[in-house]
Symmetry: C2
Subunit: 406 residues, 2 copies
C-alpha cells in the first residue's frame, strides 16, 4: 500500500445548467439495498425493533402538550446540550455546553467542519478506506487528498502520516474514526491516539474525530476518544443516529474554543441553527433518564449479533477470507483474495442469493486507491435468526466466485 | 439610490484558529428580541396560538403507532412531495415530484442554491435591502455583489438590472422575493415578473425566487410566482415555517430539470438528504386535508392584524413616516425621515418603551448601502390586543427622536 496524493475530481459549481453528473453512490446504494426483499448486511442501519418508540412517543406528546412554543422558531437548545455534556462525560470527554454545536446528523457536522477548515483546493488527509460521507463532503471543495494507508489490524499508518507532515504536508485536517471504524471495524490503540495527538500539536494540524460508534462498545469499557486528550486541535463529531434513531437527525460537534465564533457563523449561514421539534422531544426523552438502559440494551443485543455473525463467518466462509472481531460499532470487514472484485461479487450475491453487503470501493475517494477485494458487513440491522442464513448464502456466492476465478 | 458593486468582506476559511469574528447579527437579534418582556414587532415569527398543534400531535402519534420504520434512515419522501406538488399547483406552479428537493427550512435551501450556482468570488445580484439570511449564505463565498436599487413601491429596479446585464454583468443568479417582500412588504407586479423572466432568458441568468410568504395573501388571489412563468431559469424556494410551524424545519426547492443531478449531489454531501421524522408527521398531517382550512385561518387572522397595525400607524405615527399596505406576507416597512438612525431608535424603543422592531441596516450586506432610516414591523406575531398599544408606544419613541434630531 502506497501513500498517494490525488486531486479529487469533484463536482464543480457552474452558473449554467451542467450536464448530469454521477449521483450520490451512497444514495443509489441506499435505494437499491433497502429493497425489503433483500437480506442486506450492506448499510449502517440500527435495528428498528430496538428504537425506544414508546418512550419517544411519550416525550413528543409531553412536549406538544406542555410547551406552546414547541413548534416556534427557537434558539434555546439548553437542556439538550446539558444532556450531551453528560453523555460526553460518560465517554471521558469534558466539555462546556457552549462548545457543543447541534447538527442535522453527523453528515452535516462533517460538511460544516470541512467548510470551516478547508480552503478550496487545499490539502486534507484521510485513510485510503474510510466513511464515504467524507468523500461527498470534500468533493465540492476539490481538495488535494493526502491518502494514508490503513489496515483493519492497526488502523491509519502513523509512520506515513508523520513522514508526510515532516516533508511539509499541511492538511487542513486529518479525518479519523477512532472507535468502531467505518468500514474497518477497528478501534485505535491508546498509543496510536496519543501519537496522533502529538503529531497534531507538533505540526499544528486539526483533527476531525468521527465518533458516531464509540458508545456502541461490546467488550467492556471503551477507550476515550482523542477529544479527551486534547481540546485545542480535536473537533469531535457525535450522533444519535446509531444510538437512538436516525430520523431524528440530531448530531453534534464539540469544537475547540478558538473556532467557536466562526463555526457559529457558518452554522447560521447554512440553516440558522434553530432548535427543531425533534431536538425538543429528544431532550424530553433524555430527561426521563432512559438512555443508559437503552444503551445497555443496544450493547447486549448488538454484541450478541456480532458474535452470531462471527460464528457464521467461521462456519460458512472459505478459508481464504480474513476478518477480525470488532469491539465497537456496527461492522465486520472481510478481506477476500485479491482476485475477487467485490462489486462483481455484490451483483452475484443480489442476483443469485438475494443477499447484500457493501463493497470496499464505496469507501475510497473518486480516483483514489481502493479496497476492491474488501467487503463490509453490518451486524446490527438483521434480526438474529437471519444472520446465520444470510452469511451462509453469502458464503455460497463467495465460494462460487472463488471457483470461477480460481 | 445608486447601484454599487461591493466585494463582501466575508468569513474566510482558515486552517488555524482564527480571531473571533462577528457572530450572526440575526442570531444575536433573535436572542435579544425574543426576550419575553419585550413587545416585539421585530422578528418574522408566526403566531404560535395558530399552530395546529392538536392536529400535528395526532399525526405524529399516528406515524409512530403505525410505521415501525418511522425513526429509521429513510429515502422515501414520496407522500410529502405529492402534497407539495398540490400546494404548488394552488400557487399556479406545475412541477414534478422529482423536481422538488426537501430542505431544512428556507435557509438551507438558500445555502444549497448559493453553493450550487455561485463560484467563489463570482458575481451575484440582489436588492440593496433584502432578506438577511441571503447575506449570511453568500458571505463564505466572497462574491462580487451587484446591488440593485429597490423601493417599497415597485421593488427591484429592473432598468438598472437590465443596464447591468447589457454592460456585461453575469451574476450567477438574481435573488428575488416576489410576494410579501422581506423586509419591504411589496409584491412585484405581473409586468415586472414577466420582464425579469425575459431578462433571465435573454442573458441566461438564473433566478432564485424566495416565495416563503406567497401563500399568506390577504386581498384575494395572489399573482403566481415567476416559477409559474419559467421552469428553465427559476429556482423556487418554499417553506412550511411561515404557514405551518418553524420548528418542523421543512422547506423545499423546485429546481430546473438540468440542475437536478448536481443539486441532488450537493444535498447528499451536506446532510445525506434523509427523510426526517418531522417530514413523516407533516405528511400525515397533510393527508388529513386540514391545510386549506388552516391557510384560510391564517389569512383571515393575519389580514386582520395587518389592518389593525395599519390603523394604529395612522393614528400613532408622526406624519413624516411613510408606509404602504402589503397584500402578502408578514411585514410593514416604514420609512422615516433621513435624520433618523433606526438602530439608535431601536435602542431607545427597547430602553424606554420595551418595544422592538427590526432596523433597516439588518437587510443590507456588510459594507453595502443600507436603509438606515427604514424599519420593519411584523404584524403576525403579536396578539391583536397588543398591536395598538405597541404601535402607540413606538410612535411616542419616534416623536421624541424626531424632536431630538429636529
Amino acid at each position: 500500500m502506497l501513500t498517494s496524493t490525488i486531486t479529487s475530481r469533484g463536482q464543480t459549481r457552474h452558473a449554467q445548467p451542467a450536464p448530469p453528473i454521477q449521483g450520490s453512490a451512497m444514495h443509489e446504494m441506499f435505494t437499491m439495498l433497502m429493497n425489503p426483499d433483500l437480506l442486506s448486511f450492506a448499510l449502517g442501519l440500527p435495528a428498528p425493533e430496538l428504537f425506544p418508540i414508546a418512550n419517544y412517543r411519550e416525550a413528543a406528546i409531553r412536549v406538544l402538550d406542555t410547551d406552546p412554543q414547541a413548534l416556534q422558531y427557537q434558539v434555546r437548545p439548553g437542556p439538550l446540550k446539558r444532556h450531551l455534556q453528560q453523555l460526553m462525560a460518560s465517554r471521558g470527554v469534558n466539555c462546556r455546553e457552549d462548545q457543543i454545536f447541534l447538527t442535522t446528523g453527523a453528515q452535516q457536522a462533517t460538511h460544516l467542519l470541512v467548510n470551516l477548515l478547508l480552503e478550496r483546493g487545499a490539502q486534507t488527509l484521510f485513510e485510503e478506506v474510510t466513511y464515504e460521507g467524507l468523500h461527498m463532503a470534500l468533493q465540492p471543495l476539490l481538495p488535494q487528498s493526502i491518502i494514508a494507508p490503513t489496515t483493519a489490524e492497526t488502523g491509519i499508518d502513523l509512520d506515513v502520516v508523520e513522514d508526510q507532515l515532516k516533508r511539509g504536508a499541511r492538511p487542513a485536517f486529518i479525518y479519523t474514526i477512532t472507535d468502531g471504524h467505518n468500514p474497518l471495524g477497528l478501534s485505535l490503540s491508546q498509543a496510536a491516539r496519543i501519537r496522533l495527538i502529538e503529531l497534531a500539536r507538533r505540526f499544528r494540524v486539526s483533527i476531525v474525530e468521527d465518533d458516531v460508534f464509540g458508545l456502541l462498545n461490546y467488550d467492556g469499557p471503551a477507550l476515550s476518544p482523542m477529544r479527551a486528550l486534547d481540546d485545542e486541535w480535536v473537533f469531535y463529531i457525535g450522533s444519535f443516529s446509531k444510538i437512538l434513531a436516525p430520523a431524528l437527525r440530531v448530531g453534534w460537534i464539540i469544537a475547540p474554543e478558538a473556532f467557536k465564533p466562526s463555526l457559529s457563523f457558518l452554522k447560521h449561514a447554512i440553516d440558522l441553527d434553530l432548535t427543531t421539534f425533534a431536538q425538543f422531544a429528544l431532550s424530553d426523552y433524555l430527561d426521563t433518564g432512559a438512555m443508559p438502559d437503552h444503551l445497555a440494551t443496544l450493547r447486549r443485543e448488538y454484541g450478541m449479533r456480532r458474535d452470531l455473525m462471527l460464528r457464521a463467518l467461521e462456519s460458512s466462509f472459505p478459508f481464504e477470507a480474513r476478518w477480525l472481531k470488532p469491539n465497537c460499532g456496527m461492522f465486520i470487514w472481510v478481506e477476500l483474495p485479491p482476485r475477487i472484485n467485490s462489486v462483481e461479487l455484490l451483483r452475484m450475491a443480489v442476483e443469485t442469493e438475494r443477499v447484500a453487503f457493501m463493497p470496499g470501493v464505496s469507501f475510497s475517494p473518486p480516483g483514489g486507491p481502493c479496497a476492491r477485494n474488501g467487503i463490509r458487513l453490518n451486524f446490527t440491522h438483521c434480526q438474529p435468526q437471519l444472520i446465520e442464513d444470510g452469511i451462509a448464502r453469502l458464503g455460497r456466492v463467495l465460494k462460487r466466485a472463488l471457483a470461477r476465478n480460481g
